[in-house]
Symmetry: D2
Subunit: 351 residues, 4 copies
C-alpha cells in the first residue's frame, strides 16, 4: 500500500502519517519526490483499510498494491487447475482441451431436452447445460421445471454420457443440484451472492462462476476466492458479457478477460457467447473468437425449435449451426495447438 | 410490441409475419411506411417473446412497447405509496416528509452502536441503519456480528424510538431480520437474487431494495415487482450509485432516477450518498443534492470514529457533520415545500 | 511512480529494475514487503513512460502517483480562478456567485432568439447561450445559422447586457466566435479535439470546456490544461452528463464531479442539466441539485415554443419554468451562503 | 416512428395526438391494445423530431423505428464496398481478403520508421501505419514529427510498396495527409468532429474512421455517413475498444460490433487490438479473435524497441511477434475461407 501526500503537505504531516502507520503495526517508508512525498507501507499481511489513512491531514491518495485474492492467484499456485470428471476422459482447464458445453437455456419438457441432448452429443459435446431453476427478470416469466428438470438431465447423463452443468439459485436448489449435476453453476446475477458462494464452497462438486454484469476482474476472482476459501478448489470461471452503453448486443462480450485471467490465476475460463451477445447470428462468430483468444472452453445455448423456446430463444443456435461450429472450433483450436475433444469416453484424461 | 421489417422485405414476408402473429393469438396491424413496413401487435396481455418473431425472414427488429412491471407502476396505482410505522408518526413516501436513515455501516460493538445511535437520534434521525450481516467483497473481511448485531439494534429502538433498517442476505438471515428489524434491506448485490426477493415478499415487513450496480430503471422496478408479486406492497427503493468508467468516486450517483421513478411508479425512493460516492467529503454535498432533486429520503453512514471503522470508514461522516447536514437538508426541503421531521414520536403520521 | 514486482520476482530481477530506473536518470527506492517488493521512483519531473518498465522481467504492475495536469491543479494555484467580464458585475467562479447561463439550443431566427432572450433576461440570467454552429449527429439535421446566428447574439448583448456563450467547432468558426462572443464553448464531442483546444488557448477570451461523454476527471482537467498550456488561463468547466448503460435519461449527470473538481482544481465548474438529462421534466430538479451540490453555475436550455424547436426541443424548459427555477435556485444558494445574482449591471464585481 | 400512450390516456388525448401528427404532414395509425394505445406514424422521409410529440398530454414514449443513416446502410447498397489501391493488388473489404495494417504508434525518426517498416513488409503487411500528428491526452507529451513524419512514410511506400495510413487531426493536417498518404485516418477522439469528417468527405482518398470511445453502433455509422454525405464513399470502419468500467485493459474491445456492422452496412470493418487492449500480451490473442469473428482486417502497432517508444510502447508488439501472428492469422482465415495476402504487388486485385 502506498500513501501519496499533497504537494503542500508539511514535514509534520508526513511524520504524523508515518507514525500512524507504525501504530497500526506496519512499517512506513517515506519517499520524498520532486513534487510530493509518497509513503510505502510494508509488513501488512492483507489489505490495510484505507479508512485509516485516507483522511489524515496532508494525504492526497491511498493506492492498493497487493491483490486481494490469494487462493485464486498464480502467486499461490503456478500450475493450471484442471477439473476432472471421474470415470471419463473429460477435463476443463490445463491449456490443451477445449471444453464444449451445450444445451437449451431451460429444460422445458423431456422431449425437448432429449431432442437437443441427442443432437449436441452426436456433434461431440462433452457437457450438457440446461436450466431447471431460472432467475428471470420478471416474476411472471417461466421459472423452470425445478426438480423434474434435474431428473431429466440425470437421465440425459445416463443415456449420452455427457456431464451436467446447471444453475443453483439458493440454498434449497443448491442441495438438489449437488445431488443431480456434475457442475454447480452460479449465475451472473448471483456472482456476489456471497452466502450462496460459501455454500457452494462447502460442497465437493466443481463450481462454475459466471461473471457478474458489472464485475471487475478483481471482483470476479474474489467470487472464486469465496468458493475456494471454504475448501472447494474446483472452480471454473465463465465470461458472459458485461453491461455497457453499447446497444447492438444484449451485453458486451469482453474476450480480453481471457488472457487477463490466465495471467493472474490458475483457474480455467470458459466463454458464453450466447448470453454475451443475445443474438443468434453473433453466437458462432464470437464462439470462434473465444477459441482463438485462448479460452478453455465454450458454453453455448442450442435449441431445435428456438422460435418456440420458453426463454432465450433468440440467442439459441440450431443443432445444425452447432455442428458446423464444432468443425470450425476444431480447426481454430489446432492453430493454437489445442484440441476440441469429440464426445466423452470412459477412462481417464491425460493432460 | 412492434415488428419492424427490412426495407427490402417482400409483401409475402410481411404477410407471413402477420400470419405468425395471428397464430400466436394476437392481432397484427401492418403499417406500410415510405421506407419500410412496421407491424403493430395488440391483444397480448403480457410480453410477447421476441424469439417468436425476431428471426422470421424480412424482420429487422422487434421493439417492446409495454412496460414489464404492473404492480409497481403508476398505471395500476396512481397515488404515492406511503409506508407507515405503527405507533409512531414516521412515514416514508407521500411527497411531504423527508425520511432520514442514519447509522454505521456495520454494528461493531454495543458501545460503538450506542454512541452513534445517541448522536443521530439527538440530531433528529427517525431511522437507524446498521449492518449485522455484511456482504463483503473479500471472504477475509469482517462479516458482521450477526444475531448479536440485531439484538443491539433492537435495544437501540427501545432506547431511542428510532425504527431499524438492516440487511438480510439469505433465507436464514431474513428470518432473523424479520424478527428484530422494522425494514428489511435487500442490498445492491442481491437486487437480482430473485429467490431472496420472493422470500422478502412473503413477509409483511417493509422491504427496502437498493439499486444494483448495473441495474436499469426497468430492472430496478422489476426487483420491486418480485417482492410485490408475493403480496407485500410495502417496497421502498434506494438509489446508491451505478458502476461507470468514472473513477473519481466509488460509484456514480444517478440522481436523475429520482424524478424518473416518481413519474413511472408510486413507490418511495431514497438516496444513499455514502455508497453513491464512497468519499466522506462528497457525502453531504450529494445528500443536499438528493433532497433538492426531490428524493423521499436519505440513507447515510455515520461513525464517531471512522478511522477505526471495520468497514466503509472513508465514506462515513462524523456526527457533527450529520448535524450540520440535517440543518441544511431542512432548509432545502422547505424550498420544495417539504419537511425534514426531527425525531420520532408516538402517534400517527398525518400525510 | 511505483513499480510493483511479482511475488516470485527474484532479487536479481528487483536489482535489474532498479538499475533500469537509475539509468533513466531517476532514483529507485526498493520496498521489500511481506508478499512482494515494490519500487518507488523519485526524481522525475513529469510522467515516466510506463513502457520503459512494465515489461521488464518480474514486474507485475506500474502505478502512476503524480497527476498529469499542472496549471489546472490546486497544487499550483490554491485560490479559485474567477472569470470577470469587463464593464459588468458578472463573474464565474470564486465560490459566492451562481452564474446562470440560459438560452435556446440553436439560434433559429431573430424573432425566436429575441423572444427567448427577453424572457431569460427579465428572469435575471446574466449569460445567454445559443448555438450558431451545431455539431449534430446526423449530417441531414439543421446545422445552425452560422455567422448570422452570431450577429443576432451580438445584438442580444447590446439590448439586454447579457454576455454571450457559444460554441466553436473548428478553426474557422473559432475565429468568428472570438469576434462576436464573450465565452468560447468547446462542446463535449470536441473535448479531446486537441487542435481546437490549443487554438482556443491562443485566444484571450474565456473558454468553457464541456466534459466529454466518456471523459474521466483526469482527462477533463487535461482538456483544460491544453487550453492553459497556450497561455489562456480563463477556463470554465461544465459537467453535462456521461454515457452509461442507464437508459432512462439521455446521459447520466455526474454531480459528484463538482466537489471532486473543486478539491483538485481552482477552475470554476458549471452544470448543464439540459444535456445531462435530455428530458424537460428532469431539468429543473437536476438544476436544483446542481446548486445544492455546490456548482458555480447552471447552463440551461430555454425555448418559448420547444415543440417547434429545430434541435433539442424535448430538453428545453419553458420561460415560466425558468422563472420558477430561478426562485428555487436563489433559495437553495442561500443555504450554502451563496447568491444567485439577478441581472447584469455595469460596474465591477466584488468577490 | 411509434407514439406510445399512457394506460390512462383518454380517447380525446389519442385523437389530439393523431391530429398533431397529421398537421405535421404525416399519417397517424392508432393501434388500440389491451393495456394502452400506440400510434404508428408513416409518411415521414427522415426522422420526426420527438420534441413535437413527446410532451403532448397522454404520451408515454416515442420510439424511433427507421435508422438515421442512409448511404452507409445495406438498405441502400447491398454489395460490400471494396476499397482498391490503384496499381496494386491490395484491397480492403469484400469478404475474402484480410487487410493487415502494421507500424509504430508514432514516426519518431527515419531510422526507427525504416527499421519497423522493413520488418513488417518482410512479414507480409500490405499497409503501413504511423502517426505524424498525435492527439495526446497531455499537451506536454510528444506530439509527432509532423510533415517530416509524412515524408518518411512516403519514402517507405516508395521502398516497400506498402500503402500508407495516417491520422489527420484538423483542416491543416488533413491537407498534408491527403498529399502524402493513401488512407486518411480519423481518430477515435475525433469521431464526432463533424467539421473534420465533412472535410475528409470532400477529398477523394479513402477514409478510415475509428470508433469513438463511447460511440454506439448508430453513431459510428453516422460518422461514416458524414463522410459519405460529401460524396466520398470510400469509408473503412475500425473498432478499437470502448470505455467501460473494466479496468484490466485500457479499453474493452467490442468484437461483436463486427458481425453487427456487417449485417447493417456494406462498409469494411477492421479491428485494432493494440488500442483495444493497451497491453502487449493481449494484442496477438485479440488479433486472432478479430480474424475469427470475421473482421476485414487488423490494425496493429509494431515497434522493434517498444521500451524506448515515445508513445504507446506497452501496447506495441515486437516484429517477431508480428511474424508469428501473421502465420496464425493466415491459418484462422482459412477456416473462414478467407486469405491473408502476403505482401503487396503491382497489378489489380481480383475479388
Amino acid at each position: 500500500m502506498l500513501v501519496v501526500m499533497n504537494a503542500q503537505a508539511t514535514p509534520e504531516q508526513v511524520k504524523a502519517v508515518c507514525e500512524h502507520i507504525e501504530q497500526l503495526g506496519f512499517r512506513a517508508h517515506p519517499l520524498p519526490g520532486a513534487q510530493r512525498t509518497a509513503i510505502g507501507i510494508t509488513g501488512n499481511q492483507g489489505e490495510v483499510d484505507r479508512g485509516n489513512l485516507e483522511f489524515l491531514p496532508g494525504v492526497a491518495d491511498v493506492i492498493a498494491v497487493s491483490k486481494p485474492y490469494k487462493l485464486a492467484s498464480r502467486d499461490v499456485k503456478q500450475d493450471d487447475t484442471v477439473i476432472r470428471f471421474p470415470g471419463t476422459d473429460a477435463v476443463i482447464g490445463g491449456g490443451h482441451h477445449i471444453a464444449i458445453v451445450a444445451g437449451p437455456c431451460s429444460i422445458e419438457t423431456r422431449e425437448q431436452a432429449f431432442a437437443i441432448a441427442d443432437k449436441v452429443a452426436a456433434a461431440g459435446a462433452q457437457f450438457f447445460r440446461g436450466g431447471a431453476f431460472k432467475p428471470r427478470t420478471s416474476p411472471y416469466a417461466f421459472q423452470g421445471l425445478g426438480l423434474e428438470g434435474l431428473q431429466i438431465m440425470a437421465e440425459i447423463r445416463e443415456r449420452t454420457g455427457m456431464r451436467i452443468i446447471t444453475e443453483a439459485i439458493d440454498a434449497e436448489t443448491l442441495e438438489m443440484v449437488v445431488e443431480y449435476a456434475d457442475v454447480i453453476q452460479i449465475g451472473a446475477r448471483n456472482m456476489q451472492n456471497f452466502s450462496l458462494l460459501k455454500k457452494a464452497g462447502k460442497t465437493r462438486k466443481p463450481v462454475l462462476v459466471k461473471r457478474g454484469m458489472s464485475a471487475t476482474l478483481d471482483e470476479f476472482l474474489m467470487a472464486a476466492e469465496y468458493v475456494m476459501s471454504e475448501g472447494n478448489y474446483q472452480v471454473i470461471l465463465c465470461e458472459r458479457g458485461i453491461r455497457t452503453f453499447a446497444d447492438h448486443t444484449r451485453n458486451t462480450l469482453d474476450l480480453s478477460i481471457v488472457p487477463a485471467v490466465q495471467r493472474l490465476s490458475h483457474l480455467p475460463i470458459l466463454v458464453d457467447p450466447s448470453h454475451g451477445t443475445g443474438k443468434r447470428n453473433k453466437v458462432v462468430p464470437l464462439a470462434r473468437a473465444a477459441v482463438a483468444v485462448g479460452a478453455d472452453g465454450i458454453m453455448v445455448e442450442v435449441h431445435h425449435e428456438p422460435e418456440k423456446a420458453l426463454s432465450d430463444g433468440p440467442q439459441s443456435i440450431y443443432p445444425e449451426q452447432f455442428e458446423t461450429m464444432m468443425n470450425e472450433l476444431e480447426q481454430i483450436a489446432k492453430v493454437l495447438h489445442r484440441e476440441v475433444p469429440r464426445g466423452i469416453h470412459a477412462g481417464t484424461a491425460t493432460t
